[in-house]
Structure formats: structure tokens, C-alpha cells
Amino acid sequence: MQVNEYKPLIVAFCCNWCSYAGADLAGNNRLNYPAEVKIIRVPCSCRVNPMFVLRAFQRGADGVIICGCHPGDCHYTSGNYFTRRRMALLFSMLDYLGIEKERTRVEWVSAAEGAKFAATMNDFVEKVTALGENKRLEDLRCKK
């Protein structure tokens, strides 16, 4: 009998100036990371509004990860510092509402860190796979 293996859907918001290039590098170097990771390119990690994170979950994401330049390296000087505060509070709130904290993450990945990008994604996908489907922030109307 064939077992239908569960594959989570991961949305990764990647900053154009660092992590997005990091993902490219991972690809160029033939480093593997799961195809379930769907990358959305943003001009800076601080472009990510809390609503984007919730929307991603609504539309079926099982995990959301935000990748930006390392603190101090933001292309716009301070964008990622704001991201850091905003997401710390948002994730803490999601956890407070009982939503599994492993489903959200922020990671700093530079353009030179293709290996870190792949490793981060592999690890994140593994954690989310262990949790299973996102039930607590799902919108049934968006399910196919």
C-alpha cells in the first residue's frame, strides 16, 4: 500500500538584498532544500506586515519564515531591527493564542550564505512536518 506522505507548505519571505540571493546561491551550489518552500521576494524584511504572515497561514501555509539581512547589514540601514521587534511581539502573541510556536521563524541569512539558507530551510521544514498540518490558523474556505 502506498502511504501518502505529508508535505508541509512553507512560505518564506526573503529579503531581496540578502536571503533571496542566498537562495540563489544555494541553487547554484546544488544544495538541496525542499521544494515545499515557496519563496516570496520582498524589498526588505521589514516589508513584511503581520497581516502577510496571517494571510499566508490563511491561504494554506503550514509554516512561515522571514529571512533578512544580518542585524547591522540591512540595505536600508535599520529595516531589520524593526522586523526583529515586530516579529518578536507577533510570534509571542501567536504563541499566547495557542498557535504552535515552531510554525514561525525569523532567520538572518546573507547573500553569501547559500549553505545556511539550505540548512535553515531543511531544519524548518523538518520541524513543521513533525507538527503536521496547520489547523489552528486555517481558513477552511481556502482549502481545495
Binding site: P50, M51, L54, F57, Q58, P71, G72, S78, Y81, F82, R84, R85, R86, M87, A88, L89, L90, F91, S92, M93, L94, D95, Y96, L97, G98, I99, E100, K101, T104, R105, V106, R136, L137, E138, D139, L140, R141
Partner: protein, 332 residues
Amino acid sequence: MQKITREQLIEKASALLADGTVKQVLGWAKGEFDYDITPAVFESAEELNANFVWSDFCGANFSKYLVSKTRKCDGKILVFLKPCDTYSFNQLLTEHRFDREKVYAVGIPCEGMADIAKIKEICADGIASIDCEGDALKVHTLYDDEPVCVPAADVLAERCVNCKSKKHVAYDELLGEEGEVLDSARFDEVAKLEAMTPDERFAFWQGELSRCIRCNACRNVCPACTCEKCVFDNPNSGVENKSPANSFEEKMFHIIRAFHVAGRCTDCGECSRVCPQHIPLHLLNRKFIKDIDNFYGEYQAGAEEGSRAPLVDYTTEDIEPGEVFDRRDTDA
């Protein structure tokens, strides 16, 4: 029972109207019942004498009304501010939401406001009238000849039980005695929730939030919610002015509402007061306040005019989003 009297307030307001200092007075007026006091604008001593109310049900915080009222009035407006209202007042000034020159703020002391829901729990329905006398409320019902006597302390609103400050942080003039910033236990409930398992927390919030009818009262009353265009009025938001279609919309509305006031919410408690469904919105707001205090240093929105809200500020040493859970787990 309030220490300052209705007469004192009317006297003050009438005098300021008479000498031309102010053109309008923002005050409380009777609603349908003794307990649903409503905000009103008064323009003369006659109006004040006829309709002005000051009782244990005058919880309404007028700060937000100044945003629209000062634009419409060509003179100054007198506003009565309880200690907690002055924080909202400052916060609005910090955000340049109204012209300080157009307001004459009179700080008034407050002994805590009553929560009608708590009274109804004791006296059931059919409340005809309520007299505030001494330390008790006399509740006359349609069914009993004798009024029911309820100690005011037993029916104090949640936000007043956990009052954070009896001190006015902004005013032009102060009536009565000045109080102090208090050591309140307002984060205890939040800590209790934090100590639960995620499953328990999820069940708790599911139970609370699923009652929301999206009347938007919590947003409309909030002095921190003064955007001219609100995301919740956007027809493309999917959560525009309609009751939540499913549990996602409930959560989305509440997370976003609380997030939009994070760092700016003064914890005035108006949102929880007006919620017809008795959803403990303060537990969401206070979670953000508690986290902010914890991660970025103590910060009370509105305590100081012009202070920088934590979410539009940063330090290079801030806690990483992934560390917040460890921090909480070691605290607990």
C-alpha cells in the same frame, strides 16, 4: 461613590463657559438607563444643569472625541479627564491627533467605575434605576419594592480593580486631590494564561473570540485607533465590517487590532468596557504591554508626551524573535 460631585463639575464648566474660556464642554449625559451614560457636548449652563451626569457609570474616556470635536469647534473645548484618560490624552498629543491649544483639560479624581455586567449578575435583569450612595449602589428593579444594596467595591470594573494610576499626567487644571501611580496586578491574568499549555490557551481563546460579532465597538472607542482609514474598512481585507465567517477571521481581526495598538495602547480599558460580548480584550493588549516591558524595558504609553513608541524604535541588542519563548519559559 465618587468624591467629587456633579455640582462641582457643573460649576466649573459653567464658569468656564461664562467667562468665554471654552465654547463647548465634553461631558457625560444620561442614556436610556442610569447605567448607560453617554458622552455628550454641552454648550450652556442650562444644558449642563438639565443633562450633565456624574456617577459610577461615567467610564467613557473622552480623549478620542477631541480628534473630531476640536476640528468642528472654533473655540476651546473643556474636557473632563479621569487619571487613566489623561494617558490617552497624552498619547493622542504625541501622535499629533489634535491641537492642544484648542483644549482646556480639567483633571478630576476617580474612585473607580462600576461594571453593569457585575451588577446584573447580582440583581438579574429588570433594573429600573440605580442610585450611587456612599460606598454602595442602590439598585431598584422592576420586580422588588425594596432596592438591592450592592457594595461598590464588589462591582468595580476590571480595569479599576487593576487601576494602574490615580495620577493625572496631563491637565490645565486639577479638581480635587492628585493621586499616585499604583502598583497594579494587571498582568496576573496574562501570566496565568502564559502558564497554561498551548492547547489550553487555544481552547480559551477560541471560546472567547468565537463570541465576537464584529460590531467594531472596540476599535471605534479606542483612543489609540484613530486612523482615518482603517484596514478593517477596506473591502479587500476580507474582514470588512462583517461578523467573522470562521475562526480564522476572528483571530485575524483580534490579532491585528491588538497589534495595531501595540506600544501605543495605554491600557485604558475602554475596549473591554464597550464589548457587548464581554470579550476580555485587555488580555490581548496587556500581553503586548507585558512583552514590551519584558523585552525592551518598561514603557507606559501616554505617561510622557512625545515619548517614542517601542515599535518605532530599536536597539542593536534587541532580543531575537526565536528567543522570546526561552525567555518566557525561564521566567515562568
